[in-house]
Amino acid sequence: MLGLARGLLSGAIVSGTPLLYATLAELISQRAGIVNLGLEGVMLVGAVVGFVTCVSTGSATLAVAAAALAGAVFNMIFAFLVISRRANPLATGLALMFCGVGLSALLGAPYVGSQISGLPALPVPGLADLPLLGPALFAHDALVYLAAPVATLLWWVLFFTRWGLSLRAVGENPVAAFAAGRNPHRLQYQALILAGILGGVAGAHLSVGVAKAWAEWMTAGRGFIAVALVIFSKWHPLRAIGGALLFGGAISLQLQMQALGVPISAFLLDMLPYVLSLVVLAIWGGARRHAAPASLGRVFQGTE
């Protein structure tokens, strides 16, 4: 029983980490007033670039940096079309996803089956040897340790800095923000660069940190889960930590049950995160029915 709890906790943290980075990426975009359904593609590009870099240089650090850069550059396609050309964000996002699927498949094809050592685990001296939960909490790679601090940093930036205030103002009402002397386009570009970096890191953690392998479309919809998680966490970076842990936990529960040989189909358990988000969103929506979303645009504005 203890082993199960430990495995579950450890798994929730590991599976929740890429989800958290992805959720933060989507959160910044939406706080700037832009829904990005292309995050799935950004993550895939990050995952493949990270993996290829790791195979060719052997450095996991370099891999993560390359993935962040690639994610940012790739997201600029989306940013240019949506911000400068005022294209429909939903259609552009889906097109970006398709582009990422194709590009990553092309780039990764020669590397399917390659082996890497990936991000090394960094047990915290002393803490990792603690009885009970020590190994579950303190024997992870660097990106895991950094995830919650990054979320906290984003919270601080969004709510306690001038730049964050301006960004949120743009997301609420770009016209008013413009009248107040802000430059909405520049702020939105900055937000989408940051989102691309975080999305690329999320993908890299999947390929270089968790799976230590590349497979076509390995994100398996995590980019879309992140979109749901943003709403789930009410566009708030700190609540996103809890949300990502919960969803990571659902993924991890499924792996644990499988390992224990519990006779529940893995596929039914796989559905948990998706059904869970739907149920939670429904309860949420039901609870504030007065604020029923009249149009998608308003739902996604990041109002609070």
Binding site: L37, L81, R85, R86, T92, E216, F224, A228, G286, A292
Partner: protein, 345 residues
Amino acid sequence: MTALPESARRGIAWRVRLARVTAPAALALVVFAGVLLVFGKNPIKAYVDIFGSTLGSAYGFSETLVKMTPLVLTAVAVAVPARIWLINVGGEGQLYIGAIFATWGALTFGHLPAWLLLPLMVVLGFLGGGLWGLIAGLLRAKGWVSETISTLLMNYVAILSLHYVVFGPWKDPEGVNYPQTAEFAPAATLPVLGQTRVHLGLALGLLAVGLFAFLLSRTRWGLEMRAIGGNADAARRNGLPVGRYVVALMFIGGGLAGLAGMCEVSAIQGRLRPSLSPGYGYTGFLISWMAGGHPLGILGAAFLLAVVTAGGDILQMTQAIPGSVVNILMAVILFVILGRRAGTR
């Protein structure tokens, strides 16, 4: 403006319109060629493969029509709810559930004659996809969850449901270890055209487009949908049942995507297996968007993307690159259209 003869003006309009279509397509082809070059592939050979195989022969053309069939259906599945600004991104999941329902019919009533079994499977496929869309419609009508999010999430539930049945209860006992159901009886297979794989589903797709166009322009429902799409609040105050339209249109949209799933299992796969759709539902969304929900435009855009998709299968064989690489070409075409449309607005 100087008076030009009507015929000349029409000629200019046609040339402008032609340029508007061909210029982005040409740009997209150049960009994709650049991507292929960067990766050390021969773009000219790739294009010869794509277009030669899809448009250059009667057989290739028929295969393009085969690819076009599910795309037309999934595109109308998006266009119908889009009339009142509902965003159905769940065509993929609705297609899967339609296929599962139709498979249940084929496996359970395999002894029935074709004239009974096929209509039953059509109804089941429509019903399955329809119910999947209906859930999202109800959640939206209650104001609980935006249909964009719910349909997206339910895609994954649907795909996993398919995995569950083909790895579990419906697995073919004689299929060694392949995750697939038993082969359907011949009675459960949609009739095809001559020696090709073009099947009755194409007629269903064209029928759906025709009905959609008729509904929009010639019925009271079309008028009411336009009213709701124009201003939902005003329509509600005038006594139009907006909520009922939301639910009904999501059901119809889902049903059409489910029909696409039924056609694929019945005519193309002959059994249910995980490789049912290479993202037809998402492609359908993009087609409907490209066409602005216009019935004829849907046919044109579906044909274009069918050429690209069918070309992908060929590239996989002749160039030894992953078939999903054509997703890049599809995306670039869309990027060009997306980037240009705003400029002309």
